[in-house]
Symmetry: C2
């Protein structure tokens, strides 16, 4: 859990708040309230106020929250008031889509290099990137001080690539491979497996 006493479940909601605030800003709004934010997200206003109070006082009684100011503060707290360089490993269909995804940049992330171990792919262009040899991964990560990686390799290779990410100094891994991976305590992992979500829903479908 890092050094912080803030529950991880609270940290996990902050990006959601940030995303909703961005949308409000795009709609031209300048002020919001815990109630309005809560309605958009299906979360109680009390929870939003409680969550935010973990980090400071960002609102005004009687008025609510300045969208611009709260956005700025949340970005600072989540450390996305900077742009993180991200490495992408595995350039299959999914990796290709991730490499071309335009939605990272304005939310704090920038893909800077993409890797594959298939000799037929190495050197090919994908969008603005040239696919690099996965054998160069560790030295690149260290050389460019890359701390964030996205993993889009087959399940069979997920753990071995993970080990090299860790060796290269990566501290946060977004794993698209449908499997659990092991990392040292200080490395964070998040998973994306669409089938888990689908299976969770069909339980409820009559």
């Amino acid at each position: 859990m890092g050094t912080s006493a803030v529950p991880d479940i609270v940290v996990g909601r902050l990006p959601l708040y940030l995303r909703a605030l961005s949308q409000m800003e795009a709609e031209g709004k300048e002020i919001t309230s815990s109630q309005e934010l809560g309605e958009r997200l299906g979360i109680s206003s009390a929870q939003i106020r409680k969550d935010l109070s973990q980090f400071g006082e960002f609102g005004k009684q009687g008025t609510g929250y300045s969208i611009g100011y709260l956005t700025e503060q949340l970005k600072r707290i989540l450390k996305v008031n900077q742009t993180w360089d991200v490495a992408l490993i595995g350039v299959g269909d999914l990796g290709r889509a991730v490499a071309n995804y335009a939605g990272f940049l304005d939310r704090g992330f920038r893909v800077v290099a993409i890797y594959d171990n298939d000799p037929r792919k190495i050197g090919l262009k994908v969008g603005p990137f040239q696919i690099r040899d996965a054998a160069k991964l560790v030295q690149d990560l260290r050389g460019q001080r890359i701390q964030v990686a996205m993993l889009a390799v087959p399940v069979a290779e997920a753990q071995s690539v993970t080990d090299r990410l860790v060796e290269g100094g990566v501290r946060a891994i977004l794993c698209y491979a449908p499997t659990s991976i092991s990392v040292p305590r200080l490395v964070r992992v998040q998973y994306i497996d669409p089938v888990l979500h689908l299976q969770r829903m069909t339980y409820y479908v009559p």
Copy 2:
């Protein structure tokens, strides 16, 4: 929460158990225990036993769980002992990757049709699919009794397409658009937004 008294957080872990069991089966194992399963997943053995006990008794004291039998039971509980037809709406880079993803079929899902509203895309082939006109969505969903959909359209169109999915009788939506969507109480929604996961991790990176 549907009709069931089982907490949704428990339902959400069952697909994880199922996935780990499949891997064990692939490794040639036939028996496991709540402890072994828990170690793989970073979950306590007590929690696994408690979760499973919500649905019945699947193990043997002193022995553990038959991987084959427990797999079968979890598939039945999650209703993935059948194959669900899935519609995919939005054929950008991500939609293309999802359409080509081979990992759905053996886990209970099959993409049967893909849609876009861009006249330049309609009619094009993507893998085995021909992109259909999104204007045909509602009639197709009803005609084929499709209950599950994946949404890979831009944020600006997410809500309007969602409304048509609901109109067509869809009961479960996997939303790849980075926004919250509104649905009637009986329709389930799950979200995939990689940036939310990344932002949740950078909080902890020093």
